[in-house]
Symmetry: none
Subunit: 132 residues, 4 copies
């Protein structure tokens, strides 16, 4: 099962609404089950450097089938996945990348959000993922 | 002047409509005046390899302020810009990248389309750019 | 609003003067609002490895609209942006990248300096940014 | 022998003057004998995609100690250096990269110019190189 463009656009729409409600300007990326970009939106005035980060967060989540922040706990100095960020052309392992599942609980993609404090990035990604 | 997300979404919507009307599955990318991605959509079943190509076509058009296919005429063997494609992290110089202007004729971004024959890619990009 | 070449050259001139006054040999880069290089100078005998660092510091500041050293505080092990340096083709998050604003307080670019202790890099960047 | 920053700035100043006189907006890059950037200037409104090309032209000239256009003759299909552009992180082999020599005829660096027709790029680079 793979996310459709129509579903990805629903996610981005819900994520934008949440971002506006907490007064944040976000970059929002949705990847499919193959970790390839399906849809993307950069809100007016959002940080330019967050473009790449939002895509990398979404890919990171799908690469390992867990939210990006979970991998960040394991990639710290002394931990088991130390510096895993060097793989796959660059990972981003702090919060803001969230798995997307269908109603059967199957992983069909992931959403990555970047543009503010990581708590806000994560909240917007969650709001997007919950739209299905 | 820079394209807004709302304008970029209008472009993608018009491009998708044109793509459906000619029975094509396209990757559609919109960049701003700084050649940075603003919005992207991959239609269901569109070629995976066209994802990167659509983004590169849009960037190529804005990098040199002309449609991507124009550059491709000059980059042929023996022509004045032979192998310019090796610059800027990789250019795509066949048709499908089209400049986007506002009502005053100012360049505010570019749209890149990839997924079918280059004539169709170009037609869909033109339909997108004409939406403003 | 975007920095002009003439303004960028003023910044580099002021930064060089400061560097000479504290007996440092610096690489100095100025990027515009789109994070693209506008002007660059490598003082005679300056570290070769600092060429790339000065450009990355300027870009990093503009990517997130804060001085590069601010991001470095958040990218430490255990902090919220750990290993953000893996994004955008490589960030530099220690001091020496400073935002450039016009008289209305708008961000119009950034300056990055590298070649000595980070305190000196930052001081030279500040002197450059203050030239407008 | 190596070009100094002061000499590089003379070259850029002369190149800018020539560019203005033929009504062109140019990216101008000067590299030293080690093929590393010494000074750079992007004139207001110059093509964004020419930034990278101007640097690559200067490097290409110094990499092989001949003007960039000379290499372009040899890199055509069927010729002896076919597709040499794939080396060194990307070469640009059409005109606009010119060697810089001191009064003893020693190569001390190279200048690369991009932003217009290659004849104009070359003319501006020649004007810069002649400033010493």
């Amino acid at each position: 099962m793979n996310i459709t463009l129509s579903q990805a656009e629903q996610l981005i729409s819900a994520a934008k609404e949440k971002a506006v409600s907490i007064d944040c300007k976000m970059n929002i990326a949705v990847v499919d089950a193959g970790a390839n970009l399906v849809a993307f939106a950069r809100m007016d005035g959002a940080w330019l450097g967050s473009l790449d980060i939002s895509i990398k967060k979404a890919k990171t989540a799908r690469f390992f089938d867990m939210n990006s922040g979970e991998i960040g706990k394991l990639s710290q100095p002394g931990e088991s996945l130390y510096n895993i960020e060097h793989s796959n052309g660059g990972l981003i392992t702090f919060p803001g990348g969230v798995l997307v599942k269908n109603s059967d609980g199957e992983i069909i993609g992931a959403i990555g959000v970047s543009g503010n404090a990581v708590e806000n990035d994560h909240a917007v990604a969650e709001a997007g993922a919950a739209a299905l």
